[in-house]
């Protein structure tokens, strides 16, 4: 068995085993073991990758190719580069943290963990696919459990939110499918057979007219998942209704599929289309960056604040990708990682606060630093990370994005870049607003003086997420080098 397929097989095995568990205790222990093994595999993959990269300079490593639908030339074709390795590591950490955060999932625990792990299977599969069709299948596997997870274990208007989220993401899939088929039917432009293989298609000169037509479809299809303005509205409602671990996984990992897909498919396969359309999507992304920040400023529900913050931060990802240079792309990938860890951490903390106080309305909370110091201090730290304080991963990512954006010497780029940079001020305002209202100040509600302290599994979940944020923030060079190296062949395709 090859090292990559294990990432798909192990979750499937875990799911089967979960089918035999009887209660919460067994289900969570099994999920934790599954998560730990995945994390171990991801770390092992990272080191194997470094070893292999030293001797092998092909674009994708650990490749494997099996035909599974000969008629349309669809393959189970997998392989990784530095970017997918980094994202796999992200996924494994968030899945494990999500299991810890769901330690007390009383309601239908077995089914909950099964859905959660099915979701992660889809994500892993997506990150290792080189075949467009296989990638798309995994994408659907990741999206569909979302409906159940929100619809069953959610809170508030959960049916509405689940439906909204699923419908919008399915709409996105439909658009994306058209884009992918468009690429597929043009993959024989230079002669040869039709293929879904990304590396093969990249060598083909797809006609400009086709690129112009299919780039926006592919881009929008993926970008809806990445909450691009104005297609982001599923995200605040969806996150607000979703249970904690689902929000973590969704915002932390699933939304990253958007940026990754744009990079791997839209940009790489349709570079001329990208250049043609970049101005338009840059404007949308820049609007998203500043718009999300301002919208977050006005919310009172913690999850809405975080959801809009995600709109702003992921707007930065598509903004960076559209800058079409190495520095900005490096920033985009780093931002995906960094946002993944940060937003998962935020949702975890919000879940802990909600679990204790039964409200997410910041106007009803106050003085939490006094009553639940550990959670509150970490919330402040996470807030500092979110507003791009040096020493945390967000700073490194944002600086790469902005420096990359500054490489374009024209008035249009300068203006959109400066608008995007100005978000750092607005971000500071909405982060400090929450810190000021919710954490500082006098304790607002007598009942809050007796809140439960933090438990060991909550602490573990938090630390799992916090360590990479600080790790990347303090010593960014190794991961940035790994990403930069992998961007090289892609940037050559574009320029």
């Amino acid at each position: 068995m090859d090292i990559l397929s294990l990432f798909v097989i192990l979750p499937v095995l875990t799911v089967i085993a979960l089918g035999f568990t009887k209660d919460l205790k067994q289900a969570r222990i099994l999920s934790m073991i599954g998560g730990l093994v995945q994390l171990g595999m991801a770390i092992n993959l990272l080191f194997s990758y470094f070893r292999e990269r030293a001797v092998n300079d092909s674009i994708m490593l650990f490749t494997r190719d099996v035909v599974w639908f000969e008629q349309f030339n669809i393959h189970y074709n997998i392989g990784v580069d530095g970017i997918s390795v980094a994202l796999i590591l992200l996924t494994s950490i968030i899945v494990l943290a999500g299991v810890f955060i769901s330690w007390k999932m009383e309601e239908l625990p077995k089914e909950f963990f099964i859905s959660l792990i099915v979701l992660s299977t889809g994500v892993y599969g997506f990150f290792i696919s080189i075949d467009l069709f296989t990638m798309f299948v995994f994408y659907e596997i990741a999206v569909i459990p979302m409906y159940l997870l929100i619809g069953i274990w959610g809170s508030g208007p959960k049916e509405y939110s689940a439906m909204k989220l699923t419908l919008m993401l399915m709409g996105a899939s439909a658009v994306l499918m058209v884009g992918i088929l468009g690429i597929y039917f043009n993959s024989n432009a230079d002669g040869g057979a039709l293929t879904f293989n990304i590396l093969e298609i990249a060598k083909v000169n797809i006609p400009f007219e086709a690129q112009k037509l299919f780039f926006p479809l592919t881009f929008i299809g993926f970008a809806i998942l990445g909450a691009l303005f104005p297609f982001h509205t599923w995200s605040p409602d969806g996150h607000a209704s979703a249970p904690t671990a689902v929000s973590m996984l969704h915002a932390g990992v699933l939304m990253k599929l958007g940026g990754y897909g744009i990079f791997r498919v839209a940009m790489y396969l349709l570079p001329e289309g990208a250049i043609e359309w970049s101005w338009f999507f840059i404007i949308l992304s820049a609007i998203g960056v500043i718009y999300g920040a301002f919208a977050a400023l006005r919310q009172t529900d913690l999850k809405y604040i975080n959801a809009y913050a995600s709109v702003s931060h992921l707007g930065m990802v598509s903004f960076a990708l559209l800058m079409l240079n190495k520095t900005a792309w490096n920033g985009a990938i780093l931002q995906s990682l960094s946002h993944g860890f940060m937003t998962a951490l935020f949702f975890a903390l919000i879940g802990m606060i909600y679990g204790r106080t039964h409200t997410r309305d910041i106007t009803k909370l106050g003085g939490l630093l006094k009553v639940i110091p550990f959670i509150s201090v970490i919330y402040v730290v996470a807030g500092m990370a979110l507003l791009g304080l040096p020493g945390f991963s967000g700073f490194v990512a944002e600086m790469n994005i902005f420096m990359g954006a500054f490489q374009h010497d024209s008035m249009f780029y300068r203006i959109v870049t400066i608008i995007s940079i100005s978000a750092i001020v607005v971000t500071a305002v909405y982060v400090l607003r929450v810190v000021g209202i919710m954490l500082m100040g006098p304790v607002k509600n007598e009942a809050y003086t007796k809140l439960a302290g933090v438990t060991w599994y909550e602490r573990t979940g938090i630390l799992l997420l916090l360590i990479p944020i600080i790790g990347i923030g303090v010593a960014p060079l190794w991961i940035s080098n790994m990403i930069m190296e992998s961007i090289q062949p892609f940037i050559q395709g574009v320029l």
Binding site: H232, F294, L297, P390, M399, A428
Partner: protein
């Protein structure tokens, strides 16, 4: 230079921060105080050792002090553009090491008494260590990005320390305000850095300041709205500096920052962090001076001079002693900026640069002393307001004497420290512009007046009846006062122009008797006026403030700048931008998506009737379908 020593200087406070921060609930207050002080004492010793080695052992080579740089790559943007982390040793960074170490150590010792019994004692020392670490990193920075990184870190330490009493609403507001205003300034700073990075392909101070380097040689190559892009970058970088150093119009956070504990005000908001802006301009001085004939430098000079005047006027009317000191700080920082702004480069031409650094040095000593003295007073009477004080000289002799020394020093009375540095600044201004010189002298008079206004108000003036008789502070608090008092007396005798100059070569200074006399007269005049007004309780001050009428009201409200900014923040950004966006998102963007969804439902309802469950309907549909398909096939077949 010994690299390990240099790294240990910031590393020790960092380690102390991590230990105290992570184990804050397990460590006893007594232990954390000792750990904090001991850690910083070590760093201070190493700083002094470094200074001694740099100035006296290594000394000059070919008549100039050398620059030592050690760095590693921290982050790579492109093949040639990268962020380094490292240490840079030259006269101004060594001088800053001394300033930061000395003041921070004094404040650490003082805090052991001042913060005694406070709930967050350990947390306080952890924050102090975090701040000191960040400040060391800032002064030792080798490049623009490194200075920005630590710049942000000192900003966040300042936020944490201002908001130290986090259950107090005013403290939270002040902390947020300080962070957001400086963050706004840093937005400019950051864009300036990016411009520099893009056009010169380096962030490195030495390359940037090199007269033959890309920044200074090629400034003319590209222009934007009539100015060189490099000039724009410098103006934006100065915006960052102005934010940190509370220059007009980004000064509004500094008075409110006084909500923090007083030792913090002394350390961060008087002696160290707020001079970071001045330090930044000094660090990039060759660029400021040489690019486009010093256009950006002129802006520095005028912003500095205006801030000095503006703040000094406001300081006269404030009744909270810490706010008087805050405006005084702003005014003195304006002095330093102005001095840099009028400076030349070579030899004696660079007297402004030297004077600015000299004043930074002496000001740190006496302003920290003033704040710590004020803290001692506040500790005794439990109030910040002049109305609750008076006649304290009898109860607090040490505080009284040391405060008087500091007040005399800042008023520029010879031979105390402030006199020497202020005199050099006035010389520099005089040689450059009569107008700025005039402002400088006037501000010197105002400074003496407002400082003695509070001195007399606290220690003389009316006889207040105290509920509990105030008493002198404990030795841990008076010891730093005495040490700083000695420094405030003696620091002026350091031959500063031998050590710290723009061209690093040093020059000899001579006192200009005429200018010195004018400055002394201005200072004495201020003191005498204050003596007449405030020594004994009388209504002179009241009558005068009435005579000024509207102007007095405006001044005591700090010219309503807080209100203006609050209006912009709340009315314009929060209510007129953020609120409509939130509404737009809910109603229009989401509404559209919702509309599409609802339309689908409407359409599906219409079609739903087809699935009626009646066999005859399905049969009809089936046969109809077959017929249509048959027709299609026949059509295709026949063509």
């Amino acid at each position: 230079m010994n690299l390990i020593n240099l790294i240990l200087i910031p590393a020790i406070p960092l380690a102390v921060f991590l230990v105290l921060g992570i184990f804050s609930h397990k460590i006893k207050p007594a232990v954390s105080g000792v750990v904090g002080v001991a850690g910083l004492a070590t760093s201070t010793l190493l700083s002094f050792y470094t200074a001694w080695q740099y100035f006296f052992v290594l000394g000059k080579l070919d008549g100039v002090y050398q620059t030592f740089v050690e760095k590693i790559t921290w982050m790579q943007f492109t093949e040639s553009l990268h962020i380094d982390m490292g240490v840079l040793i030259d006269p101004i960074s060594v001088m800053m090491l001394i300033v930061v170490s000395t003041i921070s150590l004094m404040v650490h010792i003082y805090s052991r008494g001042y913060m005694k019994g406070d709930d967050g004692y350990t947390r306080f020392f952890a924050y102090l260590s975090l701040f000191t670490f960040s400040m060391y990193g800032l002064v030792l920075a080798t490049n623009l990005f490194q200075i920005y990184i630590f710049w942000e870190l000192v900003g966040v330490s300042s936020f944490l320390l201002i908001g130290y009493y986090y259950t107090k609403t005013s403290a939270i507001a002040a902390a947020k305000k300080a962070f957001i205003v400086t963050r706004f300034a840093d937005f400019g700073f950051l864009i300036g850095i990016f411009i520099i990075g893009f056009y010169t392909n380096t962030f490195d101070f030495q390359t940037l300041n090199d007269p033959q380097g890309p920044a200074i040689l090629t400034w003319a190559s590209s222009s934007f709205m009539g100015l060189s892009v490099i000039t724009w970058a410098l103006i934006l970088i100065f915006m960052g500096g102005a934010g940190k150093s509370a220059m007009f119009p980004l000064h509004i956070w500094l008075p409110d920052a006084m909500e923090g504990p007083t030792p913090v005000s002394a350390l961060i908001h008087a002696a160290t962090m707020v001079v970071a802006g001045v330090y930044l301009v000094a660090r990039l001085f060759p660029m400021f001076y040489m690019v486009e004939d010093g256009f950006a430098l002129n802006i520095v000079a005028y912003v500095g001079a205006f801030s000095a005047l503006f703040a000094a006027i406001i300081a006269i009317t404030q009744t909270d002693i810490k706010r008087v000191l805050a405006f005084s700080t702003m005014s003195q920082l304006g002095y330093m900026m102005m001095s840099l702004g009028v400076s030349g480069f070579d030899g004696h031409e660079g007297v402004g640069y030297m004077a600015s650094m000299f004043h930074l040095f002496t000001h740190a000593m006496f302003k920290a002393l003033l704040f710590l003295g004020a803290g001692s007073v506040i500790h005794a009477v439990h109030s910040n307001y002049l109305k609750d004080m008076g006649g304290l000289r009898k109860y607090m002799p040490v505080t009284n004497i040391t405060f008087l020394i500091a007040a005399l020093a800042i008023a520029g009375v010879p031979p105390l420290a402030g006199f020497w540095s202020k005199d050099e600044i006035l010389v520099a201004a005089y040689e450059n512009s009569q107008f700025l010189y005039g402002i400088g002298v006037f501000v010197a008079g105002l400074t003496a007046f407002y400082m003695f206004r509070i001195y007399f108000g606290i220690f003389w003036g009316k006889e207040t009846n105290y509920k509990h008789a105030p008493h002198e502070s404990p030795f841990s608090m008076t010891l730093p006062l005495m040490i700083l008092a000695i420094l405030s007396i003696g620091a002026g005798f350091i031959p500063f122009s031998e050590f710290v100059t723009a061209d690093k070569a040093g020059f000899a200074t001579h006192i200009n008797l005429e200018l010195a006399a004018i400055a002394i007269v201005a200072g004495l005049l201020g003191i005498v006026l204050a003596w007449i007004f405030y020594k004994k309780e009388n209504d002179l001050a009241f009558r005068f403030s009435n005579a000024f009428g509207r102007f007095y009201t405006w001044t005591s409200h700090k010219f309503y700048f807080d209100e203006i900014y609050l209006f912009i923040a709340r009315r314009i950004f929060f209510q007129s931008v953020a609120a409509p966006i939130a509404k737009f998102d809910k109603k229009i963007v989401d509404g559209t998506m919702e509309g599409i969804g609802n339309q689908t439902v409407v359409v599906s309802r219409k079609i739903k009737g087809m699935q009626s469950g009646k066999v005859q309907d399905y049969a009809f549909g089936f046969i109809g379908g077959v017929v249509i398909l048959a027709l299609v096939f026949i059509y295709i077949w026949t063509n």
